[in-house]
Symmetry: C2
Subunit: 385 residues, 2 copies
């Protein structure tokens, strides 16, 4: 067989977990690799879902675009949290996660040979999607604090540019993109008539004095912005594979062709769970954010004590993306850390050229004790190496 | 925005359900459109799943390739039902349905401009997937009884052929492909070194004296065969989006790149449900097959009384694919049937050129009374038209 995918990199987390297999069964293994929060949906929503399992409709396809009741509740939620107006009938499709939505958006938009401009560090699955579809990613280095640079984004655009892709709050850096910066990028996209794809999976996970700014909240941008989101992180339901894509009606019509072809519909029971969570109150997210906020403080404090780590304090997500002094091969470094400390972190290089020399630490599901333990091990490792 | 998908047809069932919206709310509406069985997973598996909802692991990602325990149980199931040997470690990935698996396989295999040979009538989503990825479908007319024709399949192959695609038992015709016929196609694929993709979603839904023949059961074919399957139909869990793809290890390695990019993993709770069903006994499928068998008898009897319908009796699935005498525009006919009888059936033309003049009737979830009522209405319609 000759594979279209032969030049695409293997899924990096899968490969690392394979490499870590020898260690994962150890009682002391610490996983700071995969990006997960620490909470699950609240019991009251699970009670409702258990009841729904007795209804035959729970077990059959939903409409391709998702259950109307969920789309309506989600539109209300997004108006409140992201200050965006979405018509749940024509501008919103429930997807099997935000990754599924990005790949689907690319299938609807990307013509063979076209380019997608992405500030780096970026999210590796996005690059895999673009390359699988015969496109090319144009990496654009960011500014201080991992903010994207509107000027270099603009100068990276040409007639073959099919989209600009932003993730805010950002994976892997935790950067919350500033309103002025995003606005300047939106201006360029409108001027050049190029879609801006905005992944806002971590929109609720914001700390300190930061606020989330969604490009779609600008009324003049609605025809040029595609918004991606997910229930995986803030609702604690990554295993349910439920996300969404929002865009102008003409885009959604095309997206539905892709949805029917690659997914048919998002899983019905997961949609029902998301709906039950939306209807039953979101105070559990506040609790989780308080917990994550304390972990962040602890993690930044402990990281600041390690000389080898150079760290900019960002304001979102449960990730840290420190630079490791003198590191030129983060994959090698991560394997060394794994071997010496039985702890999995991700190499920065999988997030693009400017990620090299960094490591990503994901502390979402850890206890404060485990965070302390992780930094004890890192401190020990860097002392010896 | 300029769409890559602009020349792809809109999802036909979605469009028809839109057209039917005026009628679906009528108490008399009968849906013989979408392909669904009539059963749901057994209560004992749902009880176990309700319990699993209390475990945090139910709510987070599974490994990309799916839960090992499910892959192991599925391999045992497939050895018994389809007489195929599958190494659950390296040759099997759990997908978000068989559609997801077909699109994923195409993403791994299809190079821009390549062709996929499909006997017609075919399943429309397969064509949408191939065309979305920049490929082309070569339709090959079938033989009597909707059997594929090895000779014309062979003559349709050339240097640009990336795969041959078969569905057995077939959607939309219900044809169970005969062993000799499949073997001749397998021979050609091995000889020409071209992968054969075999969609066996309906493998358990076989009636009369027929038996399912899975190409992978031939030991010499294992390197050339990719097998797709689904829990949607026989396990009554279409809403859970759980299917699978089986192939040689080199293919599975490439498939996992696609999986990570478009799906990450199949929904965890759905995987757990499939596992619970496999572990708790499959007598409920036998019950469903008995029910469907009786419905089939009734449907064939009633269809034979309608002069306008020309019908070959096939041996699988819950579909009938009658030819309608004199029909040259099945889309028009289906809208007329909908308007006159408040009943949705699918136009044969969406299943390829040789489907024109046919309609697809799906009787899976109906009661015997509803089947009788459906044919009363059809008989009345054809009497008047």
């Amino acid at each position: 067989m000759r594979f279209r995918t032969q030049d695409i990199m293997p899924p990096p987390i899968v490969k690392l977990i394979d490499a870590a297999r020898r260690y994962t069964s150890s009682p002391g293994f610490l996983n700071l690799g995969q990006g997960l929060p620490g909470h699950v949906p609240p019991e009251r929503a699970l009670v409702a879902l258990r009841d729904r399992l007795s209804h035959p409709a729970t077990h059959v396809y939903s409409p391709d675009e998702g259950m109307l009741e969920l789309r309506e509740e989600l539109a209300i939620y997004l108006r409140r949290t992201s200050k965006i107006d979405v018509n749940p009938q024509d501008e919103l499709v429930i997807t099997a996660g935000a990754n599924n939505a990005f790949a689907g958006a690319m299938m609807a938009l990307l013509h063979q040979g076209q380019k997608v401009v992405m500030p780096t560090p970026y999210y590796f699955n996005s690059v895999m999607a673009v390359e699988m579809l015969g496109g090319q990613v144009v990496e654009v280095a960011g500014l201080k604090g991992f903010q994207p640079d509107p000027a270099t984004i603009e100068s990276a655009m040409d007639d073959d540019t099919c989209a600009v892709f932003l993730i805010t709050p950002n994976n892997p850096t935790g950067a919350v993109y500033e309103r002025n910066t995003v606005d300047r990028i939106v201006d360029v996209c409108i001027e050049r008539d190029i879609p801006l794809i905005s992944d806002e999976t971590y929109a609720s996970m914001i700390f300190d004095d930061a606020t989330h700014y969604s490009p779609r909240s600008r009324r003049d941008a609605i025809d040029h912005v595609i918004t991606l989101g997910s229930f995986s992180k803030d609702f604690g339901m990554s295993g349910w594979r439920i996300g969404y894509v929002i865009g102008p009606e003409e885009f959604i019509q095309e997206y539905l062709k892709v949805q029917d072809t690659i997914t048919i519909c998002a899983p019905t029971a997961g949609q029902l769970l998301a709906l039950e969570v939306l209807k039953s109150g979101l105070d559990f997210i506040e609790d989780e954010l308080r917990r994550l906020g304390l972990l962040r403080e602890l993690a930044y404090l402990r990281a600041s004590e390690i000389d080898a780590l150079e760290l900019e304090r960002t304001k979102g997500t449960f990730y840290m993306f420190p630079h490791v002094k003198g590191c030129e091969d983060s994959k090698r470094l991560v394997l060394d850390i794994l071997q010496s400390t039985e702890m999995l972190v991700l190499p920065g290089s999988i997030f693009g050229a400017s990620g090299e020399g960094h490591i990503r630490l994901s502390f979402g599901p850890l206890t404060p004790e485990a965070v302390d333990e992780a930094f004890d091990r890192l401190a020990g490792f860097f002392k010896e190496n």
